[in-house]
Amino acid sequence: MQHNPDDLKYTKTHEWVRRKDDVIEVGITDFAQHQLSDITYVELPELNRRLDAGEEAVVVESIKAASDVYAPIAGTIAEVNEALANAPEVINSDPFGAGWIFRMKPDRAEDVDALLSADAYEAKLPAEH
């Protein structure tokens, strides 16, 4: 599995969060994309939609699986990754980079601090054997 980058924050539901100026960028981790396998469709959220922490923001579908993606903290959708409409498989190939899903303007920027560190997230993951 790909290394979970140290400069990101994580949730128990396998989202990652990257701070970018006054917004946060959100995607799903390598563990998450691996469970779903080949991703074929992403139902992106509407711009300006207000979400509470843990609220369902996105549905990601693969050939045989479908999963919700949750808002890691409270905020408003500021931007969605339109490129995923034509190339959802980027989530599989580059989950922590070009596979980002949406950007949010947080209600409280400091909420990010309470999310998991890469080490804490990794400790929750099953070890490969």
Binding site: M1, T13, H14, F31, H34, Q35, L36, S37, D38, T40, Y41, V59, E61, S62, I63, K64, A65, A66, S67, D68, Y70, K124, L125, P126, A127, E128, H129
Partner: protein, 235 residues
């Protein structure tokens, strides 16, 4: 880590199965039950995955009614499939990410369970890249389609033991044109095992592959009300 096995003996209508799974998923998310695996058969039904095309159902609604086949749009991934008596359905409601086995990928594990189960009866089943399921030379033996809610799984796998395969002729199975569907009965003839025999093997392989030892849920376990109701009316 142990998980409950719940076995339902009488073919269950699809919507009851969805209600049951919804109750289990919510209870699992709330951590009032352990990981739980349902084993059942459905009454005759066509289901379409979230993004399946309606055109993959080949019969009109009137023809479906005449043949007593229900039609449902399901929340699972995947395309069109058929369920009915003689097909063993396994619906694991398990939280992913808690066992080492989960690192291999859940869909891969479901395929592995189907392949090992088929192998126990002398059938060499295998994977085909990009088309999840358990395949044989004669066609697809087991179909897979899942949904995750807060990383708790539902829906799952259907394994053709001895169903009336004409049910699959009413759809384009999994949206794959020109691919056949098969069953243990078609492959083994009179040597075909019973559903209970296949289930026993499948339970064993689930325990090993998913690293969750199955034990039968008993009335002493605190079952969700919805579950107790459906089980009560079913026994």
């Amino acid at each position: 880590m142990t998980a409950w096995a719940i076995k339902i003996e009488k073919p269950l209508p699809y919507d009851d199965g969805v209600r049951l799974q919804t109750a289990l998923v919510n209870a699992r998310i709330a951590e009032t039950i352990p990981d739980t695996v349902l084993f059942l058969e459905h009454t005759s039904v066509i289901t379409l995955g979230v993004r399946a095309q309606d055109s993959h159902v080949l019969l009109s609604n009137a023809d479906l009614q005449r043949r007593h086949i229900d039609l449902y749009r399901s929340s699972r991934g995947g395309d069109a499939t058929w369920h009915g008596p003689g097909q063993l359905v396994m619906y694991p409601v398990i939280r992913l990410g808690e066992q080492e086995a989960d690192a291999h990928g859940y869909l891969h594990n479901l395929e592995e369970i189907a392949i090992r189960t088929a192998g126990d009866f002398g059938i060499a089943a295998y994977r085909r890249p990009g088309i999840t399921g358990a395949w044989t030379q004669a066609g697809k033996l087991a179909a897979i389609g899942i949904r995750l809610k807060r990383w708790v799984t539902f829906h799952g796998m259907s394994f053709n033991v001895k169903p009336d395969l004409s049910g699959f002729a009413t759809i384009i199975p999994c949206g794959l044109v020109g691919e056949a569907v098969t069953s243990l009965e078609k492959l083994l003839g009179a040597a075909c095992p019973t559903l209970a025999q296949v289930r026993e093997r499948m339970e064993r392989h689930f325990s090993y592959v998913c690293r969750r030892e199955l034990k039968c849920a008993s009335p002493a376990d605190r079952l969700p009300e919805e579950l107790a109701k459906i089980l009560g009316s079913n026994s």
